[in-house]
């Protein structure tokens, strides 16, 4: 947009572009109603951005949006992980405590002088092992996903407390901190820069990889098929047991990755880190349009869901008048609206 254009021409060009997009979205929704909740999430996110810009200002600018990504990179990774599990109709409650265990262990090992690369790999592997354990319990011992991952949640939290109950500080010269370091990509006016951390890049790579797996590989389609009908998937000769274990392994592994990203940014790990994050991840996934019963949902929706939650925090801080306690109430409200929306969509599909 340039200053040369007259305001009238500008607005009409904009209007026709918007109406084109709306028409296109309508077509997509009509052919596939299951994208509706995800579209709604995007609309709400845009609405929140516009509201924030109008009410508080300085939202639609590079450094605010950069910080939104930087501060929520770990949540985006967790939401992606949760999407895999929920698409099969399962749930993973252990992700928060896996992060606690993984980051406490990682910081202590690093401070003990271990090689940073080895530490990072170990941090991720801790998550993998937890996910594998959940998956095996669920698939081969027929334990409800809720119970199996609840058990792993308590186990992880307990092990983290065994390691340390004090905040563990990552030494200032640890190379792991590089992952949380901010790099200026575009140098804007004053502090209005486009900034990324390697952690953000990792999160974006995770999103791309997840999108590829879910939409371009047979394994990914099996995830959807299991969520649609597990018995039918088995009769169709799909690798149901393997895939079910795999989604929990993916979820655990990505929790380990999230632990690395989070710890590198904060530099502190504690056994109480990540309490309730599993619920944030579930909320982000549901807000993004994934159905808790499985089979319907998109990983990009979950990313939007995570950003909705992150932006909400930003807006509440900016407002200053809203007590922080309201955050959870607002989260709950948004969640409720989305679940009702999903109910409306599914009931429409059945008639």
């Amino acid at each position: 947009m340039t200053a040369v254009q007259t305001p009238r021409a500008d607005s009409s060009a904009e209007a026709s572009a918007v109406s084109k997009i709306v028409a296109r979205v309508k077509r997509v929704v009509a052919s596939n109603p299951s994208v509706l909740p995800t579209v709604a999430a995007i609309v709400i996110f845009i609405g929140m951005v516009i509201y924030g810009e109008v009410a508080y200002g300085r939202i639609v600018q590079a450094n605010t949006l950069s910080n939104l990504l930087i501060n929520n990179a770990h949540l985006i990774i967790l939401a992606v992980a949760m999407t895999f599990v929920i698409l099969t109709g399962g749930i993973d409650l252990s992700v928060g405590s896996v992060i606690a265990l993984s980051s406490v262990a990682g910081v202590m090992l690093s401070n003990a002088g271990w090689d940073p690369l080895v530490v990072i790999v170990l941090m991720i592997l801790i998550g993998t092992v937890f996910g594998l354990a959940s998956g095996i319990l669920i698939q081969y011992f027929n334990v409800q996903p809720f119970i199996a991952t609840l058990a792993m949640m308590f186990l992880g939290r307990g092990l983290a407390a065994l390691l340390s109950t004090q905040p563990e500080r990552l030494s200032e010269d640890s190379p792991i901190r590089w992952l949380g370091e901010q790099f200026k990509v575009v140098d804007g006016e004053k502090v209005n820069d486009v900034v990324v951390t390697p952690g953000v890049v990792i999160a974006l790579l995770v999103v791309l990889a997840a999108f590829f797996v879910l939409h371009r590989t047979r394994t990914g389609r099996t995830v959807y098929a299991i969520g649609g009908s597990e018995s039918s998937s088995a009769l169709m000769g799909l690798a149901v047991p393997r895939t079910k274990v795999l989604v929990y392994v993916i979820s655990g592994t990505l929790s380990g990755v999230a632990a690395v990203v989070y710890t590198s940014r904060l530099g502190i790990a504690q056994n109480i880190t990540g309490i309730g994050w599993e619920l944030d991840a579930i909320a982000a996934t549901v807000i993004g349009g994934t159905l808790l019963t499985g089979g319907y949902g998109y990983v990009l929706g979950s990313v939007i869901g995570a950003l909705v939650l992150g932006l909400m925090n930003v807006l509440i801080t900016r407002d200053g008048g809203i007590p922080p306690k309201m955050t959870t109430i607002i989260t709950g409200g948004i969640l409720l609206v989305f679940v009702l929306l999903q109910r409306a969509v599914t009931s429409k599909r059945h008639t």
Binding site: R216, R218, R221, Y224, L235, G237, L238
Partner: protein
């Protein structure tokens, strides 16, 4: 058992197959041979072991004894994927699709076209459409979700899925149970084409006529045991049925002749009469009468409004026009419970969704409706209940481990008999039976028809709905002919009336319309 070309070698040779499920043997040393370029029918009553045999061949059941050879090589079929790898593909009776996925994906899942960038949806959809075209479904939008499709089309999509792997052996378990005549014809055309290509096809069905129309060879099962393999041409229908049920067909003939002998023109006041009963979009306003002890069949094709009319008559659905009189008194049937209080019972077409409660015991299923009209405040005494259940289980010959067994353990035919017992326990004056014989074997059909005849003898007015017109003709005193959601006429049954007469009347109505 039969002579055959010594040079031909079966594609599939199953010998001495024994399968034990939870300690109960369901197959005892069954043999089955399938030849390339042949359609082989597997026949047997409910619970004869057809489905178990199919599951053994597709790897869903583990074979406890016996051997499966494919192309002469012994194979261990550890699961559906292993069976598929060995060239065996199947479409099962209960449509096995994923409702959240598109048509193309259901057809192709596990076999998607892959490129360096992963699945190519364009190529995948193209192949799906090619396979669907073979089954006459070329006009379907492959991107559409399968949950919006009719059961019949879903069944064909499931078959399309089985064809994707270009199997050597195609197993179809009751593929036609939800198809109408046109769709069956389409399916059969596709099967004949596959037969020409040398595929060995196992066709499991309880529709005798279809088996005779399409199959080259028949293997008969009864009670989990093989009853021999026969070329279809050399086995006539009566012989086949007697092999399936282990007794001969005189029973069916007896019902027909007894009904005819007993038949009398209705006299006196009707017990039940509707005037101008209809519901917009469901069924046109119609007059209809029922007399004591009369069986009135509803004759019509699928979509003629048979079930809708039955539901209106029974008060399951409330009409938006017309009046209902019982014994000459005007009544309003505001709900199924109200209808029951007026002693009008309705046995639903859909056993699973609208009738049998699978988790409840046989006993509870039988007394359910009776208890409902008595109200929960006046429970049936244990002694009364047990006597009732015992009487019905005996008179209906319900085969169950006991009155406490959950209904889901019973075969389809026995579940249907439990349902009939449930409604009869309420001592109805009017009983509407919607497809009481659907999906049950010949032996159970015979028994159910015999019970219906007996009820009528006891004075119940029965409305009998069946897609098998020969049943309607055999049982009914009078037949109301339905077409396009309205009644186009009524005929009294008699020696001159046959299935063809009814079809002619329906067709003639067509010409009137034109």
């Amino acid at each position: 058992m039969t002579e055959r070309d010594a040079s031909a070698r079966p594609v599939v040779e199953m010998t001495g197959i024994t399968v034990v499920i939870e300690g109960t043997p369901v197959l005892h040393g069954v043999d089955l041979r399938l030849f390339g370029g042949e359609i082989h029918a597997l026949m047997g009553g409910n619970g004869a072991g057809k489905s178990s045999m199919v599951k053994a061949l597709t790897g869903a059941y583990r074979v406890d004894a016996g051997e499966v050879r494919i192309d002469g090589e012994p194979v261990a079929l550890s699961g559906p994927a292993a069976a598929e790898a060995a060239g065996v593909a199947a479409a099962f009776q209960d449509v096995d699709l994923c409702g959240n996925l598109s048509i193309a994906e259901n057809v192709m899942i596990g076999h998607e076209e892959r490129r360096w960038y992963g699945i190519s949806w364009r190529a995948t959809r193209r192949r799906a459409v090619a396979v669907l075209q073979e089954l006459g479904l070329g006009e379907l939008d492959p991107k559409q979700s399968v949950s919006a499709l009719s059961p019949a089309i879903q069944q064909l999509v499931a078959i399309a899925r089985a064809l994707v792997t270009q199997p050597k052996v195609l197993v179809l378990d009751e593929p036609t149970s939800s198809l109408d005549a046109d769709e069956v014809a389409t399916l059969f055309r596709a099967l004949r084409r596959l037969r020409e290509q040398g595929v060995a096809i196992l066709f499991v069905s309880h529709f005798l006529e279809q088996v005779y129309a399409i199959s080259d060879r028949i293997t008969v099962l009864r009670d989990g045991r093989g009853q021999g393999e026969y070329p279809t041409r050399e086995l006539d229908r009566a012989e086949l049925i007697s092999k399936m049920i282990g007794k001969d067909l005189t029973e069916l003939r007896r019902i027909g002749s007894e009904r005819r002998a007993h038949r009398a023109d209705p006299t006196g006041e009707p017990v039940y009469r509707v005037v101008g009963l209809g519901k917009r979009g469901d069924f046109d306003a119609t007059d209809f009468e029922l007399h004591r002890g009369e069986v009135v069949g509803l004759g019509g094709l699928r979509g003629s409004g048979r079930s809708e009319f039955g539901q209106l008559l029974a008060g399951v659905v409330r009409g938006d026009s017309g009046t209902i009189q019982i014994d000459g008194r005007k009544v309003v049937l505001s709900s199924p419970a109200a209808a029951l209080r007026h002693r009008i019972a309705f046995a639903s077409e859909d056993r699973r969704d609208g009738g049998i409660i699978e988790e409840l015991s046989v006993r509870d299923n039988i007394v359910l409706a009776l208890q409902a009209i008595r109200g929960w405040a006046r429970p049936i005494s244990h002694a009364e209940r047990d006597a009732l259940v015992e009487r019905f289980m005996e008179s209906f010959d319900i085969v169950a481990p006991g009155p406490d067994a959950p209904a889901k353990q019973l075969s389809g035919g026995n579940q249907q008999k439990v349902l009939l017992a449930r409604w009869l326990a309420t001592r109805p004056h009017v009983l509407v039976l919607d497809e009481p014989t659907r999906g049950v074997d010949i032996a159970a059909k015979v028994e159910i028809q015999a019970r219906v005849a007996e009820m009528a003898r006891d004075g119940v007015a029965v409305v009998f709905i069946s897609s098998e017109l020969d049943e309607v003709v055999r049982l009914s005193d009078r037949i109301a002919i339905l077409k396009d959601r309205r009644k186009i006429g009524e005929v009294s049954n008699g020696p001159g009336l046959s299935v063809d007469t009814i079809i002619e009347m329906i067709a003639a109505a067509d010409e009137d319309d034109a």
